[in-house]
């Protein structure tokens, strides 16, 4: 809900308080006092580990309760879910709750990762406890304030729906108590509700941002408008890392409304040409009129066909070892009939969120203000500060509502923010919105990497895998980034093998290794990361083994899963039960496809009903079972799975691949890189949540890994063919 220009100075208060008076023209957008606190470096673990309640909750005089959400909202529903958690413990009147996306500040860092971010499906998992504590503390302070005023024991007070009730019929509204409450000491510990006491957590709660998104009033980053703001676009090199030899900007500058044309650094030590103009269309026209002679002589020219060949070759040799247990001798003695050798290929994938990337910055010399729909506020703030020669605390960073992300807005090198900062620096004083066109987005890199897998399995006499050798080839996401120390060990980037290395299948003779080639294409995590390809391989290979053993695919998985994989067993069982009515009565030309997978600590099993229409898979129905611990908002969980599987089907689209030829990306918009439309998505999806009292785990990414293998498993049953090369071009 951010999006208006705010001056942090307007909110300097002499003391911290829960009570904030709206003073902006926009009416009510408030920025935490904690931003102005000097010496509040944005590095490392958050200093404010106690998460002061008044940074998160503000009760307005009219009773509105404004809750700061410490993460970007980009569709996943966190802007509703975290306030639900806090409001429940606080006993707030939900109808008065307003959620805002917190700007970048120390107090809003993820408690586990130590930076302000959203990703890894960790929002609820990491902040559930945190927001419960916050809500409970605010409630305790309100009660303490009331008890003080009434001179009654705290124990004789109770709360309900933004009112404190005391003995003798006394009551006081939260907004009347807020000032006094903020003078109370923040309790060190609080008692949290028992699950039986939840009023909101676990119930279906509709999103807070729906109406604004349905009537055009809610502003995304791209919608921002500031007085005097200019629009910038950048002509990026056609190959990553290249620079112009010569720029002829005469025609560009002659377009009425163009302000300036100049070069700026872009990703991989390249140089781009920035155009600044009064409007988007002007900037685009001007950029189109630039005549640039690019020097592509000293950058690598990646080519998908060549990479494919190279990756296939590499996959035939062992790489850096990720997992080795048992021995592979069974592979040596297996007959041809009992030995499967499967080679898989996966292309580069663009995230292509609906809202193209954009960032707005105003640089005033000794401070800057930024508006961006960022998944990585801490990191982006640091990068912008670096480019502008400022300290991070001199950069006021507003988090805007974002039109999708899927990982694209969490970039370790902050390349888009750096472009915007370089432009803002050039324009010192004038606010400028950098806009990436859809073409920039499709061609701009930061893709899910290309991968090859080679799997050799020896099937035992019982039909189960007796030995499993697995080689993965693909660029490393983490090497060369600040995250390398977390996820790279012995030359293995764990994000490339997650989902296979940690498989719950009982593979006692298992060897998994990986090659990480260096390619001149920037790569990035794409919703569910390594699971996007490992789950496909694991679940299609297991399905193939089940077929060979003439076993039911669910029963086979049950047998192959380790007995202690309790959650996976549970979802398999629940999926089997809920899909039985239709799975056992499929019409002619339909087949069922099964897959199950754990990712980000959430376990998912699915069954799909597929037929072939117009040479494409037609998905009539998906039945999902999920174990995600406590489902804070079952409506969100259902939404994530119903929609997330449609996103996952991006991998199967006939034109769902980014390819390069002689260094050039071949696609440039949704006509060449085609995402799923309604006809490509399942007609219905029913979602069943395993009842659980365990800590919540994520639902953002877990829908993605299971859907492609499930659909392909159904197709294999219909056609008898194996599909190991994505995207699915022909059936």
């Amino acid at each position: 809900m951010s999006g208006t220009a705010i001056r942090a100075n307007d909110f300097l208060q002499s003391r911290r308080s829960f009570l904030r008076v709206a003073t902006t023209a926009a009416g009510g957008l408030f920025v935490s006092l904690y931003l102005d606190f000097p010496g509040f470096a944005q590095e490392g673990e958050p200093k404010a580990k106690n998460f002061p309640p008044d940074a998160f909750v503000h009760i307005k005089p009219d009773g509105a309760i404004v809750i700061q959400v410490n993460r970007l909202e980009f569709g996943q529903g966190v802007q509703t879910a975290l306030p639900v958690v806090l409001a429940d413990e606080m006993d707030a009147d939900w109808s008065r709750v307003v959620a805002e996306l917190a700007p970048a500040a120390d107090v809003y860092k993820d408690p586990v990762f130590g930076i302000q971010m959203v990703g890894g499906s960790g929002s609820i998992a990491h902040s559930f406890e945190q927001y419960r504590q916050l809500g409970a503390k605010v409630r305790a302070m309100l009660v303490a304030a009331a008890a003080d005023q009434w001179k009654v024991p705290v124990g004789q007070c109770r709360t309900q729906s933004s009112v404190v009730y005391g003995p003798g019929g006394r009551s006081a509204k939260y907004e009347a108590l807020a000032d006094a409450a903020s003078l109370q000491p923040v309790p060190a510990t609080v008692t949290l509700k028992k699950p039986s006491e939840f009023k909101l957590i676990g119930k279906e709660t509709r999103r807070l941002d729906s109406r604004g998104k349905c009537d055009g009033s809610l502003k995304f980053g791209l919608d921002l408008d500031l007085p005097g703001m200019k629009i910038a676009m950048v002509a990026h090199p056609p190959m990553f890392g290249a620079s112009p030899k010569f720029v002829d900007d005469k025609a560009a500058r002659s377009v009425p409304g163009v302000m300036d044309v100049f070069t700026i650094p872009v990703t991989r030590n390249g140089t781009g040409v920035a155009v600044v103009a009064d409007k988007f269309w002007t900037a685009k026209q001007a950029r189109d009129r630039l005549r640039i002679d690019w020097d592509i002589s000293n950058v690598e020219h990646p080519d998908s066909a060549q990479l494919r060949e190279k990756y296939m070759q590499l996959s035939g040799t062992a790489g850096n070892v990720a997992v080795t247990r048992g021995d592979l001798s069974a592979l040596g003695h297996a007959t041809a009939a009992d030995r499967i050798v499967a080679e898989y290929e996966f292309p580069y994938l663009a995230h292509a969120p609906m809202e193209p990337l954009n960032t707005t910055i105003r640089f005033d010399g000794n401070r800057a203000e930024v508006w961006a729909g960022s998944q990585f506020q801490t990191i982006d703030q640091m990068a912008i500060a670096e480019v502008l020669g400022l300290k991070p605390e001199q950069v006021m960073f507003h988090t805007e509502m974002a039109g999708g992300g899927f990982g694209r807005r969490a970039v370790p090198d902050s390349h888009v923010q750096r472009e915007a900062a370089a432009i803002a620096k050039h324009l010192a004083g004038t606010p400028v919105k950098l806009v990436w066109s859809r073409e920039d987005d499709v061609q701009g890199g930061y893709y899910r990497p290309m991968h090859a897998h080679r799997v050799e399995v020896a099937a035992g006499s019982d039909g189960m895998p007796a030995a499993w050798r697995h080689v993965v080839v693909g660029q490393s996401l983490l090497m060369g980034t600040p995250f390398a120390s977390f996820g790279v060990k012995d030359g293995v980037d764990e994000t490339a093998v997650e989902g296979a290395a940690d498989t719950h299948y009982d593979l006692s003779n298992f060897h998994l290794s990986v090659h990480h080639p260096n390619v001149n294409v920037p790569v990035l995590w794409w919703r569910s990361v390594g699971h996007t390809h490992t789950a496909f391989v694991m679940e299609t290979m297991v399905d193939e083994l089940a077929s060979r053993a003439k076993a039911d695919p669910i029963a086979y998985r049950r047998k192959l899963l380790r007995p202690d994989a309790r959650k996976l067993h549970n979802v398999l069982d629940l999926m089997e039960e809920k899909s039985a009515p239709w799975r056992n009565h499929l019409p002619e030309g339909h087949a069922a496809g099964i897959a199950c997978h754990e990712s980000f600590e959430t376990c998912v099993a699915c069954a799909v009903d597929v037929s072939i229409e117009n040479n494409r898979p037609r998905i009539h129905r998906v039945t999902i079972a999920v174990d995600c611990g406590v489902a804070v908002n079952p409506l969100t969980v259902e939404s994530q799975f119903q929609a997330g599987v449609s996103f996952g089907l991006s991998q199967l689209m006939a034109k769902g691949a980014i390819t390069l030829k002689d260094g050039y990306v071949e696609q440039n918009n949704f006509d060449g890189y085609v995402p799923p439309y309604m006809v490509d998505a399942p007609v219905t999806v029913d979602v069943h949540i395993v009842p659980s009292a365990e800590n919540p785990t994520g639902c953002g990414e877990p829908p993605v890994p299971v859907i492609s293998p499930a659909v392909v498993n159904a197709l294999s049953r219909l056609t008898g063919k194996r599909y190991r090369s994505l995207p699915l071009v022909a059936l």
Binding site: D288, D671, V674, Y677, V679
Partner: protein, 207 residues
Amino acid sequence: MRSHNTRNRWFSIILALSAWPILVSRAAEPGPDTAPTRDAGLAAWQQVYSVLTHPRCINCHTATNYPQQGDDRHRHTFNVTRGPGGKGVPGLNCATCHQGANADSAGVPGAYNWHLAPLSMKWQDVKDKILSSAQVCQSITDRSKNDNLDGTGILRHHKQEPLVLWAFDPGRRRDGTARSLPPLTHDQFVAATETWVEAGMPCPQNP
């Protein structure tokens, strides 16, 4: 006398040769008393056929529930469909994108009443393979299929119909390049149609 005959013969030959261009262009406008021959009509029909089967025309004369796009005549992107009247469906009409004139700044072609030709006027089969000259000729002259047009009606259609005129002024693509044009100019197309009509709209025999 011999020389006179020789001279006359040469004279006739030269006259004939020099009249050839006149005869060809005359084929476009036969004199009021001389209808073109059947052969001239068939030749004119081949010219008409070459235009009808050019992408600018045939992309909307499909046998399927979708139009085609581009010189490679691929299926129109974005899941657009024919709809009951050949104008698309509510929410995704032809007019959803195609306006009354070319939108060169967006790379989208346009003309008055942009829509698909009816299925009765398909010039390709359901596998998008272009029909033969004989098949198209039969179809185009079949009054139960062609909106009951006689020769005059067909000629008027070729002369005046905005979508036909569009094919000869098809605007620019998104990348700024001009769309390719049919093999004849509009004037030549009309002239060839006229010759064919006046020859009695003969159709080739071999399918």
